[in-house]
């Protein structure tokens, strides 16, 4: 029988004006994977931050290996063998993989105390990477790796001599299928070494696959803990959101009118002769495995990646999508996949984050009338159900799902015709995810056209009317209506991959 390595009892955490955690109990056995799930704002991040020393609990006990301890800062937590891997990448892009893995613990030369021992650094990193079965070179610059590979380097970084508890926050949000399997194998290995893992994710199927136990938080309270033998998906969802999930029936609102057509778009070494037509009211999914060029293609639609095309027409007019300004002028908006790096102005008020597009695309006057701005923001807070009590607070105070809703509102405020969504529900809880899907459907119904991409193929299938499948830079398949399903897409993508 495994012993309890961590016990959190009666944890309460208050912030000015709100109680984020209300008498929460949580325990972790040695060598187990215990997942914590719940909607945004349920308190998962807060609980983890308390365990990691980023926050200090208002009251309650923390018991590590049978001894009651106070975790007052991140150093205390590290010394106890607790490490956390974050959802949004914070590692250092300009340094090499090896330097990232050994950040803060770079090996020094034996005889020369201040000089880096780069050979040892390389070798030690290689050892860790090999142990984790990762095919990544230690000297590779981090920014050259795919986002998924960078995430796996984060995992490597967390491994160290003293590791007892590893907390993973949305670890698969940037990983493709293959990388997710690698991650799960790594988790198996860690379990066998007696390391315990707290796993936080919105992907319920994944959580059910990988966990020994699942605990559910809602509104700051723990509402249930399940053992593996008792996992039942609908029950768990019901506990999470307090109601059962309605499956949205997918409607197709596409008309015959072509709003955007692309002929022979080429991206150097990434995309070859891509052509497509986007219909009014349609939700077009773009799918492809890693290396398919999907990311670069999505970016090129908004002028964020250099491309050359024979012809691009928007509403019948030839356009040159060479930068965001051009695209915005044509009524095209874009939702980036990494909101912290590419969408959010973290230190600025929520209000600024809402209206940045509106003030220069719709309002267009030199002086900003506070009243008009407040009104339109209030309108969208209501429409999209954004939980923001005061629009003057910094946007960094909002949960991930609400931040995403702010960004989506930002785009919708300028009444766009063509909406490009690059992984809009990444790191978003199930409740908000469903809401975002409904929003997308509503937009199509009102005549907007949507280009949609997601790291989850099932989601692409749920949302899109039509799906284009890319492989190695070429468009290889197109599926419509009832042919849009996971099997077809994966078969098409992998078959083309193999056929080389």
């Amino acid at each position: 029988m495994s012993e309890k390595i961590l016990e959190a009892k009666n944890i309460i955490k208050d912030f000015p004006g709100t109680r984020a955690l209300d008498d929460v109990d949580f325990d972790l056995l040695r060598g187990e994977v215990h997942s914590v799930i719940g909607e945004n704002g349920a308190g998962k991040s807060t609980l983890m931050k308390i365990i990691c020393g980023d926050f200090i609990k208002t009251s309650g006990q923390i018991i590590i290996e049978g001894k009651e301890t106070e975790i007052k800062n991140p150093t205390d937590s590290l010394n106890l063998g607790i490490r956390m891997i974050y959802q949004e990448l914070e590692n250092l892009q300009k340094l090499s993989v090896a330097e990232n893995i050994f950040l803060g613990k770079l090996p020094k030369q034996k005889k020369l105390p201040f000089i880096l021992n780069s050979k040892k650094l390389s070798n030690d990193s290689l050892k860790i990477l090999n142990e984790l079965n990762l095919d990544i070179k230690p000297r590779e610059k981090l920014s050259n790796l795919s986002v998924g590979a960078q995430q796996l380097v984060e995992v490597a970084k967390a491994l160290s001599a003293n590791l007892k508890i590893l907390i993973m926050d949305e670890p698969t949000s940037s990983l493709n299928q293959k990388e997710t399997e690698q991650l799960f194998k790594i988790i198996e290995k860690l379990k066998n070494q007696g390391i315990s893992i707290i796993y936080i994710s919105h992907r319920l199927k994944e959580v059910i696959d990988v966990s020994d136990r699942i605990s559910i938080l809602r509104d700051g309270r723990k509402v249930g803990t399940y053992e593996k033998k008792d996992f039942k998906e609908d029950e768990i969802i019901k506990l999470m959101i307090g109601k059962s999930l309605k499956t949205a029936g997918k409607q197709n609102y596409s008309s015959d009118e072509v709003v955007m057509s692309i002929k022979d778009l080429n991206i150097n070494k990434k995309i070859y002769n891509f052509s497509m037509e986007l219909k009014k009211g349609e939700i077009l999914g773009i799918s492809g495995l890693a290396g398919s060029g999907k990311e670069e293609l999505m970016k090129s639609f908004f002028g964020l990646w250099p491309s050359r095309s024979e012809k691009i027409l928007v509403y019948g007019q030839a356009v040159n999508l060479k930068n965001p300004k051009n695209a915005l002028k044509k009524g095209i908006v874009y939702l980036p996949e990494e909101r912290k790096l590419q969408s959010l102005f973290l230190e600025l008020p929520i209000r600024y984050n809402f209206s940045v597009l509106w003030i220069h695309r719709i309002y267009r006057k030199f002086f900003i009338a506070a009243k008009n701005e407040k009104n339109i923001i209030a309108e969208y807070i209501e429409k999209l159900r954004v939980k923001a009590s005061n629009a003057e607070y910094m946007v960094s105070s909002l949960s991930g799902g609400n931040q995403q809703k702010v960004i989506i509102s930002r785009l919708l405020m300028i009444s766009p015709n063509i909406i490009i969504l690059n992984d809009p529900t990444r790191g978003v809880d199930i409740g908000s995810k469903e809401e975002i899907h409904n929003i997308i459907s509503g937009l199509a119904k009102s005549g907007a056209s949507i280009i949609f991409s997601s790291s989850e193929i099932p989601e692409v299938c749920n949302v899109s009317n039509r799906v284009l499948v890319l492989s190695r830079g070429r468009l290889i398949s197109e599926f419509k209506d009832s042919d849009v399903n996971v099997d077809n897409i994966i078969t098409a993508a992998t078959k083309a991959d193999v056929k080389r």
Binding site: N73, L304, R361, F366, I368
Partner: protein
């Protein structure tokens, strides 16, 4: 809950609180501090530097810095005074045009070459002061006795120098631009997250150039007032203004990393520094102490900035 609101207020207005605290202490313990004459002195000192610092606030919030402001003051000062012999309007107009051009060049080089504004404006600093030296032949310039130019710096309104009111008006105008216009809004966005700004279709280059122009023009206005007040100008005037202006901005609570700050904070910063130096002079402390005091204030301000940015709750 009420207690935490007061705590938050203190955190947000920390500098103002310290300022008021010091003011009260000085009023009681520093001889002659709390006299009308001395307080007006503090206002006079703050006004000129304040105009420069308010202008500089724009590039700083956008994530850049303009170290050439001191040199701009000197060049525009000598030009303004030398033109006072021609006409008062030329004496005002030409320096401003000069400043716009300088701001354009600064902004252009920083944006088109994606260069570090510290290095570029350091270069401008040298070049512009060189131009001032060439223009004056190394000599001091004196203003024309026949001109009304002197009125700018020397006239009084209600016993208080008129240019203090000019400072207030400029500060208010700049504050309005920063808080209530699209341009001001974008300055914040660029300072906070350039990548997101690009994706939001903001013309990063243009906004940046505007911030350098605003900074330069503010320096020109300060120069016109200063040269009118002293009625002499030399290529060495304004030497070190960039240091004081940046200090004021940092002390006031704006972040040198961009995205945080406003005119109000800068103004408090200027008053703070001027007041402390003033107190030191009244206490007859050696000049060296003033430099040390300035340095200590800045270090503490930056430390506070870093501490309050990494909130540990």
């Amino acid at each position: 809950m009420g207690k935490s609101i007061i705590k938050n207020l203190f955190k947000k207005q920390a500098v103002l609180m310290v300022f008021i605290f010091l003011f009260i202490i000085f009023a009681f313990f520093v001889p002659s501090f709390f006299s009308a004459r001395n307080l007006i002195n503090i206002l006079k000192q703050s006004a000129i530097l304040g105009i420069v610092a308010c202008g500089l606030t724009f590039p700083v919030i956008a994530g850049n810095v303009d170290l050439s402001v001191g040199s701009i003051v000197s060049l525009c000062g000598v030009v303004a005074l030398s033109l006072s012999y021609q006409s008062i309007w030329l004496a005002i107009f030409i320096p401003i045009v000069l400043a716009v051009i300088i701001g354009l060049i600064n902004g252009f080089i920083v944006t088109k070459f994606n260069a570090n504004s510290v290095i570029i404006t350091l270069g401008s600093l040298a070049v512009i002061r060189g131009l001032a030296l060439i223009y004056t032949g190394g000599k001091m310039v004196e203003g024309s006795d026949a001109s009304k130019f002197i009125l700018i710096g020397r006239s009084l309104i209600g016993g208080v120098p008129a240019y203090i009111f000019i400072f207030i008006i400029i500060a208010v105008i700049l504050g309005i631009v920063l808080n209530f216009t699209t341009l001001g809004r974008f300055v914040y966005h660029i300072g906070s997250n350039i990548e997101a700004g690009k994706i939001a279709g903001i013309n990063i280059d243009n906004i940046r150039i505007y911030t350098f122009i605003i900074s330069a023009v503010a320096s020109a206005l300060a120069a016109i007032i200063l040269s009118s007040r002293l009625y002499t100008a030399s290529p060495l005037t304004g030497n070190g203004y960039e240091f004081d202006a940046v200090a004021a901005i940092v002390v006031g609570g704006s972040s040198l990393f961009g995205g945080k700050g406003n005119i109000y904070r800068t103004v408090i910063g200027i008053f703070f520094i001027v007041m402390v130096i003033n107190a030191m002079i009244l206490l007859n402390l050696p000049v060296a102490f003033q430099y040390i005091a300035k340095a200590v204030i800045i270090v503490v301000a930056v430390w506070l900035d870093i501490r309050t940015s990494r909130v540990i709750i």
